[in-house]
């Protein structure tokens, strides 16, 4: 799989950057943060909703990025973890009347356990074989959700309708705006935690495994533990994203979490730049907005137009948004001189 090799070999455009540069500089981060805080005050509720979805998908792509860009393992099964998170939140909110905010950590924990458990058998597989095993998980998930055994809880094929929360403490903002800021706060928290994770001892272990498994184990890295841990962390974050998604969309159904979602998330990661965390959100924007653009160009051929656009992106900037960011950085650097 070339994407990971690329991370290892580093193409010319990326070479100048030190390996630890998986994040944005402080100045850029602040600018982005301020923009994210201000924008909702000026746009329609519908756009706020789209931005919320962007953050949510961004989180899911970020989770995949930790797994693939961090520890070098592939997954086409993220939709399964996303579904588990979404259903956990939906069921807790609708049947036990639990506060939506409290359901998220539970969704995260359940998905962490689920991912960690799935990581065990996955240890024996690598590369495309691992991708296939996770693919199986993603294909099976919608059917598992439809099983008569769980139907009492999952609502079977009819799904579950989730109540959207109002802004607390009588804050004068719409449901959409509140949910946006709520999601933004969680996103920032998880983003900072992820950056710190990758910079920590565990993160270095992930990357050592990614770069060379044998060398990593020779240095004393517990390969099995860190590989499964990466799966667990990734699944946990995806679960939180899934829970948020359920609250934002107000509905969960097996059809929402098909293999197409997993492929979209994978696509988002590649477009955003494998291993570059801020790119996750660029990738999320790509998977949300580009299909709309494609549909605007031609309704009957929207799939084909999307394909052409995707091809152009991959062909022109094979390292995704990261490459664009680096080129921009270099240009700014030259201008300053």
């Amino acid at each position: 799989m070339s994407a990971v090799e690329d991370v290892v070999t580093e193409a010319p455009a990326v070479e100048a950057v030190p390996k630890r540069a998986m994040t944005l500089g402080l100045g850029t981060s602040l600018v982005v943060l301020v923009a994210l805080l201000i924008v909702p005050l000026f746009v329609k509720n519908f756009i706020i909703f789209q931005l919320t979805m962007l953050l949510i998908y961004g989180l899911a792509v970020l989770a995949l990025n930790i797994l693939t860009g961090g520890s070098g393992q592939f997954s086409l099964g993220q939709s399964a973890f996303y579904a588990v998170g979404a259903y956990t939140s939906a069921i807790l909110i609708e049947y036990t009347g639990m506060n939506y905010a409290l359901t998220l950590p539970i969704a995260g924990l359940i998905c962490f356990a689920f991912g960690f458990a799935f990581g065990q058998p996955a240890l024996r597989l690598s590369g495309v074989y691992l991708a296939l095993a996770t693919f199986a998980l993603a294909t099976a998930m919608p059917q598992i959700l439809k099983l008569g055994f769980f139907e009492h809880w999952t609502g079977g094929v009819q799904g579950l309708v989730v109540t959207k929360p109002d802004a607390p403490f009588g804050l004068p903002m719409s449901q959409d705006m509140w949910l946006y800021y709520f999601t933004l706060a969680i996103t920032i928290g998880i983003y900072i935690a992820s950056v710190n994770l990758l910079r920590s001892r565990s993160g270095r272990a992930f990357m050592a495994i990614r770069d060379n498994e044998i060398a990593a184990s020779a240095m004393g890295v517990d390969v099995a533990l860190y590989k499964t841990l990466a799966f667990g962390v990734s699944a946990g974050i995806t679960g939180v994203a899934g829970g948020l998604g359920a609250i934002a969309v107000q509905f969960v159904a097996p059809d929402s979490y098909t293999i197409l979602l997993a492929i979209s998330l994978f696509l988002g990661m590649v477009v955003g730049g494998v291993g570059w965390l801020p790119g996750s959100f660029v990738g999320a924007a790509f998977i949300i907005f580009v299909p709309n653009i494609a549909e605007g160009i031609s309704k009957g051929l929207s799939g084909a137009v999307f394909g052409v656009l995707l091809f152009l992106v991959i062909f022109l900037v094979p390292h995704g948004a990261r490459q664009v960011a680096i080129v921009a950085q270099q240009l700014i650097g030259k201008l300053k001189k």
């Binding site: 519908f46 789209q50 439809k146 079977g156 509905f251 159904a253």
Partner: protein
């Protein structure tokens, strides 16, 4: 033109405007999406993704509104039909519905397709008080005006259809052993539930096997063999067209000849019976509410002729054997009827009011005797069907028009 003259012209114009508009404005009422010149209609269809075959419905509707506009529109207003793709994915449906309501500001959302996508937007549209009119799904729950006064179904629902079969079996073959094959999704399970409800207490003793298949399976041959082995003498076939054709063919191959009930979803001669072989499909029982364009008995029918003329002119590339084309045509006519009835009062409330007061409306695509009826408590516009039996090369209608309103 001198300044004086300009002033004179302008003031006359204003005077005229004031004179004419004061009388007219009193009756004209608009909600977002409606104006003197246009009516904005939103629609969501799976143009891509697993259910993309149904995208034809959206295209037919678009073509039909083009025809209406070419003929002068509705009470002088042109229909602006905005149709988006949701790929049959509920989160995407929510996004598109919000775009239609909040960004495009449509008057109503018309005929969005699929049970999960419609469930996903039902609450939102009802809170926003935007009509979710004539949804393209046969689930039973859309007829629930008390809880969801802004949502209305269209076609006969799945449950009432199998209830009709169940009643027929109880009457004609009370000691039948019934084998059921159904698709493992909302549509299949809804049909199944209707059938069991129809049999009532006898369901447990009469049904010898319920077998399900996944829509992703390439063939259902093994399921048929399994069902035959039960020795059942009635076969309830709840499958979509591709699988229905396979089932009919396989039945003939292995020599299983039960009393065969085929759901209306697959009662198309062009896409099911012909591929399966006419000789294999003799005596199959199904039900219909639309005319089957591939059925020779409608060759000289006036409604069918009008349909063909419309397609020739506005949608020549349509596949006339596809039942979705007839579906889209008929439901679009239903909407035009409602909008015409609204007159100059194009508010969302009036749209729902007019939609809920259709009386004995006959449309060219419906079987003779089947009429559209709604009321403040009945949000199931088409609720009757007729049983049909396949004889020779065509469906023979038999018995009377049956109705069975299952509530949501």
């Amino acid at each position: 033109m001198s300044t004086m003259k300009k002033l004179a012209v302008v003031s006359t114009a204003f005077g005229l405007l004031a004179a004419t508009s004061s009388g007219v404005l009193a009756q004209k009422k608009y909600d977002p999406g409606a104006s003197d010149t246009e009516i904005k209609i939103g629609n969501i269809m799976p143009y891509s993704g697993p259910a993309s075959a149904y995208g034809v419905i959206g295209k037919t509707e678009e073509a039909y509104f083009k025809k209406i506009n070419a003929e002068g529109g509705i009470n002088g207003r042109k229909i602006n039909f905005i149709s988006y793709d949701d790929a049959y994915s509920p989160p995407k449906t929510v996004e598109q519905a919000r775009k239609l309501v909040e960004s495009d500001e449509v008057l109503l959302i018309f005929n969005p397709l699929g049970t999960p996508p419609n469930t996903a937007i039902q609450k939102y549209l009802n809170t926003k008080k935007v009509p979710q009119l004539f949804v393209a799904t046969g689930a039973t729950k859309w007829n629930d005006p008390k809880t969801f006064p802004w949502t209305m179904g269209w076609q006969p629902n799945y449950q009432s259809e199998t209830q009709i079969y169940a009643k027929y079996i109880l009457k004609e073959k009370p000691n039948a052993k019934v084998a059921i094959l159904y698709q493992n999704d909302d549509y299949g399970k809804d049909y199944l539930k209707g059938f069991k409800d129809g049999l009532g207490a006898k369901a447990a003793s009469m049904i010898v096997m319920e077998e399900s298949y996944e829509v992703s399976e390439p063939t259902i041959d093994s399921h048929i063999v399994k069902l035959k082995s039960t020795g059942a003498d009635v076969f309830i076939n709840i499958t979509t067209p591709k699988f229905a054709a396979q089932a009919i063919k396989k039945n003939a191959e292995i020599g299983w000849k039960p009393l065969h009930f085929l759901n209306n979803v697959s009662a198309s001669i062009g896409s099911v019976i012909k591929p399966a072989g006419m000789e294999n499909a003799q005596d199959i029982i199904s039900s219909q509410y639309l005319k089957d364009p591939t059925d020779a008995q409608w060759k000289d029918d006036a409604g069918m002729k009008a349909w063909n003329e419309f397609l020739d002119k506005y949608y020549p590339e349509a596949n006339r054997a596809d039942a979705s084309v007839m579906f889209g045509y008929t439901v679009a006519q239903g909407l035009v009827h409602v909008l015409k009835a609204c007159g100059d009062n194009l508010t969302r409330e009036n749209v729902m009011k007019q939609a809920a007061s259709i009386k004995d409306l006959e449309l060219g695509g419906l079987l003779p005797g089947i009429k559209v009826n709604t009321s403040a408590t009945d949000f199931a516009p088409i609720s009757s069907v007729q049983l049909i039996r396949f004889k020779g090369e065509t469906w023979e209608r038999f018995g009377e028009i049956l109705s069975s309103d299952a509530g949501g």
